[in-house]
Symmetry: C2
Subunit: 619 residues, 2 copies
């Protein structure tokens, strides 16, 4: 039996309704508005190897409006990828069909559900395709957006990026169903308001009735076959809850599943529908290309490094980041570097000089930058994202969603702490450790010199997941020789003796303050242990506990150029919490200002002078 598009769309609708009612929650009306247009996509345009969602030749489908996940799940079920019965597990504990898409579900390109992020992920996939020589025919990247989320600025960051880089295989589909969660959206059904914006941001656009199959087909034909150098946006006027009389275009039906009676009424309205489990015959790509293997450890060997820093030489760790990443990029072709127009400050410019084809200037748009990294990660690349540590806060939600997506992304934040000096408080990264460390299973590193930066960066390349490396603006002396090893979860005891009274735990710039304090105290015969805690998370609990035990006062003093809560001190506290060791945190407790580094370390209470004073108050 040959089904009409309308019948197919209604079968899709049926499953959206059944699955949400079965779950007792969810957003059926937000699915129904997009059901017609997405049915056409799956029926006629999508090219996809269902066995291998990450086949590089696949088209990609991103539900930026993640709350319409039942639609996503129903569409793929109806390709025959899995049984429609599984749809009844929606939102149940243990099901891969979660309330919003997550990486448990293999056809989700990214976790979505925090709105306005999908187009950036699409950018990452599309820019990956653009720079992938093996792809002669670029697959299409389809991104379904809601009208409510068009208010998110990130969408416009993403639109700028897509047009700037001429990502002509991106097709944004905007489901203008007029109704937000709590009221009408900013522009209601004025589809031209969205089209004007996309045009101004460099897209080719078409506005259609999203429930008229002829118009939908015409739009996809244009979107997928036109020769042009622009991304494409289909702006579809739709009705929330379309197809069901008592839901359609009605307020107060956002995020509500139908109760049994209403469900029966609704299904009746959809008409007689065949019980088919597979209604879409998705085209398979002509070729199959799998993601390249990640770099093997040999390739990231630090012996490859160009320059061997000399002991005592003054180099900023941010500079070392640039030269080292450029070098690592020789061996590992998966490494990409992304920056937000500060590449001459973060030194990612050195990577650009060496590997222009794998450098992506994202301009001053950190949210989109992280979304692009997420898409690249899904495409099998290893993105390094750099900007000032302070400005990574601009993308906390995107970092969070990248973590929920199980992405493999490394972040590098420069200009950490008050030690940056004259630029003042807005440019100081003082909450970055708290931000990255709160997400589960992240790695947070803060090396203090050139050698440890080099070596830890090499290690980070082979460490999956979200990693963060914090670099310093100011130059610091090379402290370690090239034979030293550094590991994630490690630390270095820099000074120790059998007479140690307390242990000073530092990282980054404060290592040098701690060493100065050591010298001053030694003059007065007060011996202290000094630890460079370069791996902040995971932290070297074993060494820390041992130090506390071996020192007379069983006291650890932590010193960090970060706000007091959520930084190194708290990770040390947690590490020794059950041991009964005493811990005193020294950290930045008030908003800093402009001044020289020396003045600000002192003003912040984390300079050698303050450490000496603190030690004396304890011993």
């Amino acid at each position: 039996m040959k089904l009409t598009l309308q019948q197919k769309a209604n079968i899709v609708r049926k499953w959206c309704l059944i699955s949400t009612s079965e779950a007792g929650s969810g957003h059926p009306t937000s699915c129904l508005s997009a059901a017609d247009i997405m049915t056409v996509l799956f029926d006629k345009y999508l090219t996809y190897d269902l066995q291998t969602p990450q086949n590089l030749q696949n088209d990609r489908v991103i539900f930026s409006k993640g709350h319409a996940s039942p639609l996503l799940y129903s569409l793929f079920a109806l390709t025959g990828a899995y049984d429609t019965e599984e749809l009844k597990t929606l939102r149940k504990f243990g099901s891969r069909l979660e309330g919003h898409p997550t990486p448990r579900y293999p056809y989700a390109e990214a976790a979505t559900g925090s709105l306005g992020q999908g187009l950036s992920v699409g950018n990452g996939l599309a820019v990956g395709m653009q720079r992938e020589v093996i792809l002669q025919n670029k697959p299409h990247v389809y991104v379904l957006l809601g009208d409510g989320e068009m208010a998110e600025g990130q969408v416009w960051e993403a639109a700028n990026f897509a047009s700037y880089y001429k990502l002509n295989n991106i097709v944004a589909i905007v489901d203008v169903n007029r109704l937000g969660q709590s009221q009408e959206t900013m522009f209601g059904h004025h589809v031209e308001a969205y089209a004007n914006k996309f045009n101004a941001f460099g897209f080719e656009t078409i506005t259609i009735d999203g429930h008229n199959f002829d118009e939908i087909i015409q739009a996809f034909d244009k979107a997928t076959t036109n020769k042009r150098d622009k991304p494409f946006a289909i702006i579809a006027k739709t009705h929330k809850g379309h197809g069901i009389s008592f839901l359609q275009d009605k307020d107060n039906w956002h995020g509500k599943a139908l109760k049994k009676d209403d469900l029966e009424k609704a299904l009746k309205e959809l008409g007689e529908l065949p019980e088919e489990k597979k209604i879409f015959s998705v085209k398979i790509p002509a070729k199959s290309s799998s993601i390249e293997k990640p770099v093997n450890e040999k390739n990231s060997d630090s012996s490859l490094l160009l320059q061997t820093p000399k002991l005592g030489e003054e180099i900023a760790t941010r500079e070392v980041y640039g030269t080292t990443l450029a070098q690592l990029g020789m061996a590992n072709m998966l490494i990409f570097a992304l920056d937000g127009d500060v590449k001459n400050s973060t030194f990612s410019i050195d990577f650009k000089s060496a590997h222009a084809d794998r450098f992506i200037e994202c301009f001053i748009a950190e949210q989109n930058m992280v979304g692009v990294a997420l898409g690249l990660s899904r495409f099998g690349k290893l993105p390094f994202v750099s900007t000032f540590a302070a400005f990574l806060t601009r993308a906390f939600d995107q970092v969070r969603m990248a973590r929920l997506s199980d992405a493999n992304i490394k972040f590098v934040g420069s200009h950490a702490g008050v030690s940056i000096g004259e630029d003042g408080s807005s440019q100081m990264g003082l909450e970055d450790i708290a931000m990255f460390a709160t997400l589960p299973d992240t790695v947070v590193l803060h090396p203090c010199d050139a050698v440890s930066t080099e070596k830890l960066l090499s290690t980070l390349v082979t460490q999956p997941g979200i990693g963060y490396l914090r670099t310093l603006r100011s130059k610091t002396p090379v402290m370690y020789d090239e034979t030293q090893t550094f590991s994630i979860g490690g630390s270095k005891i820099l000074r120790e003796s059998p007479d140690d009274r307390v242990t000073i735990v530092a990282a980054g710039i404060t290592v040098f303050e701690a060493l100065q304090a050591y010298e001053i105290l030694k003059q007065e015969s007060i011996m202290v242990r000094v630890v460079d805690c370069y791996s902040i998370k995971p932290i070297d609990s074993k060494t820390l506990i041992r130090c506390a035990e071996e020192t007379k006062q069983k006291f650890i003093i932590t010193v960090e150029d970060h706000f007091e809560h959520g930084g190194l001190g708290d990770l040390v506290l947690s590490a020794v919490a059950e041991s009964g060791a005493h811990v005193k945190k020294m950290a930045i407790k008030h908003i800093s200002h402009s001044g020289t580094m020396k003045e600000l370390l002192d003003d912040g209470g984390i300079s050698a002078k303050h450490i000496v004073k603190k030690v004396k108050s304890i011993v």
Copy 2:
């Protein structure tokens, strides 16, 4: 002597150059591009009571491109507000003229320096003026933006907001100097690219040569006198470093002060200039209106509350937020509520119902929402900003800048933790405490029932600064009677006996798990103390230390529906760090999923069952 506009602009330039050279750092070229246009503004259009920067009748000037602060400082100095000699203290420790504007400088409307935020602050001021009945003639809000920062999505969130609310007294001035920090901006000198975007976002626009005084005057005439219902944008084509041949339109001069020789050469190029210290005669507003006094404590008395929750009644704390804020808004006319299209979930809708004139729907654009709150705070209002706790992460940078601005803003994050259930990980606020608590001097509250929510919210109204209240999605039983008092920095011991072995410290939903655990353990004659630590920051150190001391094992177990790092547990650890008490943190250690609340609390290891197990492992 009557100075020409060109002479005045060159005097301004002179001071930008001198002050940055004196400082040895800063962004002179980014000042010079905007010097002509801002000179005209100060010379002919600005109405400002220099004695009272917060006179409500004042025009407002916001430097969204905060790195051009030397221009801001020079302009106001040349009004005679302070001596030009002070400009030589730029960026020096202790000076109010910091690298980027901060609240130390009274003419800064907000701390800027994280780009793309100024237009939102302008929105907050303009919407405040719009809703202020005493203002018959609305002052103008001038926002100077750089072209590089136009890539920030927040600018477009702000543009949407300004046009949606018809903020026709906003004048955005875009300084299109072509050069970003590290390369040409996305659109170079194509001023039309910006004009098209602003037009599409509902602005009236004009493009001009930003160094042609006739065109500048024409633009300001149009911007300030036209009758229209739209905001206005002046897109000015300029040259970075304009006026100095060896700087003008040259790459690699971003953020560099001139050395002595270059400075002398540059000053020579500016020509002979009179030594005048005051070149602008700024018009004074006809009237003076000062900010209203904050609410007095009597007005926020909780006896005003409409409903008295009954013990045992099940109410969600998010619902209590809505009804209580509506009630508090009766007594305190300064309270505004802002929401991001989730007002029916956060229950700020109840405030809207009672005080529509003080409710601002910000749609799904959290970054702009926080910027609007910052502007409102500067205008003397008390904004309450609500959305899902998870989505406040979208505005971390804006919250950070609000804190640097010394703003008085209260944030309310609903849907905290895994306890939200089926919606899944993207909707769970599990990093919100880490985020708010890391900023210095913030208040973080997490009440577990209706009464404590009501009372803490009332208290929060009278507490200056950045406050955060975390609410629950699910209903919880009323636990406290109306006679109980709650204070910032307080806690409640819910169960205690002389035989207590350990102390369980909980907040929010985990209070109920802890109480359940208490009952189970009591059956087995294991007595534990239970503390409701509703004030997470500041925390009740005294009580916590006493509890640790009074319980047999000197052990505190913290239980929280938040990620392990940066939450309640870490604040407890810090509070008892020097006491030597043992602390065990129970918190969410992995990414959660969809499921029922019960399943997820259990899966997250923070349910009563897990607490019982943990206690037994200790005693």
